[in-house]
Amino acid sequence: MRRAKLSHYAFFILPALLLLAAFVVYPSLRTIYLSFVDEEGKFTLAGYKEVFTSRDTFDPEGFKRGFPMGTLIHNLLWIGIHLPLSVFLGLLLAVLLKGLPGVSFIKSVIFLGMVMPMIVGGVMIRFMFDGNVGVVNMFLKFLGLHTQTWTAYPETALLSLIFGSVWLWTGFSMVLYSAGLETIPKEFYEAAAIDGASRFRMFFNITIPLLKPITVVVVTMTLLWELKVFDIVYVATMGGPGGASNVLALQMYSYAFREFNFNKSAVVAVFITVSTLAASIPMMRLSTRE
């Protein structure tokens, strides 16, 4: 009976397992293998050495001179700026918009950035920051401030992409936080109000702690996206000027499809994978513990 049940399960699981093996497991293992061999298939760590000592990955001169600083630092900057901004703005919007009339429409508009393919988002960022037709410059001009094509300058290219992507990504955290806010029982706030708690205190002592599981999801998903960000950079700046907005995923692409060096590309791919695992496993554990 039990064997029959098992074969039943296997019948349904096997197709999915086969697909996973063919399209996820095998390519992943093959990528790891490629990262440890040279073009002739001999074992070597030269690829790792070359990638991690390359100016493309880490350029210490950038700290004195300014951008580029290397893809590793650029991705870290992406995390350092984009993550807190998009999480905080999402939470703020979710709280501010809660219970307002016509809120679904406003939320839909904010969420549009997330619905849009990131490639389109990248094109829009490029035009948003353009010196002639960009909405950012129109606003700056209105305020009497300096205007330029912000994505064309090494000092501002990466920051333009990061701020542009905050606009695209905030809808995601806002929607999750909005859903999370709906799950918090009203009684908690009523009881706190009877006890004389201020709105500020209620926010920090009730809302924030009860939204912790949502925060874990938002932070994990955002972090993973930031580590593998590619599309926006590819279409908006192609990593330029002079590598000033280059990121790990684009570096991987360039090694593979410009240099045709699949071994070096595999090194970057393995590094991105390990980084995403290192970031997501503790977050997942945290969420399970909750």
Partner: protein, 389 residues
């Protein structure tokens, strides 16, 4: 009896349909450029009875697609237009057919086949080309301000100063995209203030980017960038419109510009004074080793690059023939003018297209940096040397 006859006829027709060869040509031209290419393919179909299907793929996309296809011993097309550097690279790896038996080098302008030739093997053929003659201007604008194309470097500087004085804060439009329009301007400076030989030496990696010769030519360009004569890099088709409507006075672009403006008869062009060479960028096509119809594909390639094929293409405008037997009368008037500009100067391959790979991407990207931060010339040259290795 009638039934039997009809059945046999149906079988014969089906067999004919099954046996009919349809070749797939992959090229980068879409929209009006595709429309201009289709008459050439149609002429081939009429001449040979072989059907041809055309698919559009940008070279950048083919660079992603073809390595994986070749590894699987497949090809998405029978005749494919692609970068010369890619054709050479994958020809050497054995994925591309040697076409020296069907292409006669004598048909071509000198040096046109060099980028796809490896020893005695010819891995591709040159179709039509575009030249990058220099700075384009509107004749009506020059007439309005009483300006003339410069004959010396000093006159060129004087022209820029005059243009600024009459209201063009940044007289020269800088086209951008992935970066190639900037590389075209840079190559023109290298050829003018270095020499045509410098361009060839850089392609063959015989000279360092940090050498005095390169630095001298680049400093001429940098001097103009520092003076703010060039605009910020802006998407090249957008800035083309801005230049045409009068926001800028000069625009460095290839000869295809003649097909992109409302009134080509208002176009004028001049090279930097003293330029003894001109970049001549041919479109190269190859036959992948994995084509199912090698003989038919060879026929098509030979037709495309023949005098007849190229004459049909240049007649559509915006193209210059690489086949030396194409007559000047085959061109529309404005292109004939461009073709005349080529007389007396050395025709040179495009630098970054010839080198390709990581260098090409770095070249484009570093020039974007140089355009906005000309004081970083040293770093730019250093990076270019590193990427060339």
């Amino acid at each position: 009896m009638l039934k039997k006859g009809l059945m046999i006829l149906a079988i014969v027709l089906m067999a004919m349909v099954g046996l009919a060869v349809t070749l797939t040509v992959i090229g980068p031209w879409a929209g009006p450029e595709q429309e201009a290419f289709m008459p050439v393919l149609k002429a081939f179909e009429e001449e040979t009875g072989i059907e041809v299907e055309y698919k559009v793929y940008r070279a950048e996309d083919l660079a992603n697609l073809l390595p994986a296809q070749f590894a699987a011993r497949r090809a998405p097309g029978d005749v494919i237009f692609m970068w010369a550097s890619f054709i050479r690279e994958y020809g050497k790896k054995g994925h591309i057919m040697d076409v020296s038996s069907v292409i006669d080098p004598d048909w071509y302008l000198a040096g046109a086949l060099d980028p796809v030739q490896v020893g005695n093997r010819l891995y591709g053929a040159a179709y039509t080309a575009k030249v990058k003659p220099g700075f384009w201007y509107r004749k009506s604008l020059f007439k309005k301000y009483g300006l003339k194309p410069p004959k010396t470097w000093d006159e060129f500087l004087a022209l820029l100063r005059t243009l600024r004085a009459v209201g063009f804060k940044t007289p020269i439009a800088s086209g951008d995209g992935v970066g190639w329009p900037l590389s075209d301007v840079t190559e023109h400076f290298l050829i003018t203030f270095g020499s045509p030989g410098l361009q060839k030496d850089l392609i063959e990696k015989k000279i360092s980017w940090q050498s005095n010769t390169v630095r001298y030519a680049m400093e001429k360009l940098v001097s103009l960038l520092k003076e703010g004569y060039f605009s910020e890099p802006t998407e090249w088709t957008t800035i083309l419109q801005q230049w045409w409507r009068g926001d800028y006075a000069l625009y460095f672009m290839g000869s295809w510009i003649t097909g992109m403006v409302d009134d080509p008869s208002d176009l004028g062009v001049f090279s930097l004074p003293g330029a003894k060479g001109m970049v001549f960028g041919a479109d190269y096509a190859f036959i992948p080793k994995y084509t199912k119809h090698p003989e038919e594909a060879k026929k098509l390639l030979a037709f495309l690059v023949s005098e007849k094929g190229q004459s049909l293409q240049v007649a559509q405008g915006g193209h210059i023939a690489t086949n030396k037997y194409v007559k000047l009368s085959a061109y529309p008037p404005v292109d004939a003018e461009v073709a005349k500009l080529m007389e007396g100067v050395e025709l040179l391959p495009d630098l970054d297209d010839s080198i390709g790979g990581a260098f090409q991407m770095a070249f484009w990207d570093q020039l974007k940096l140089l355009w906005v931060r000309p004081e970083r010339l040293d770093t730019v040259l250093k990076v270019l040397d590193e990427k060339l290795k």
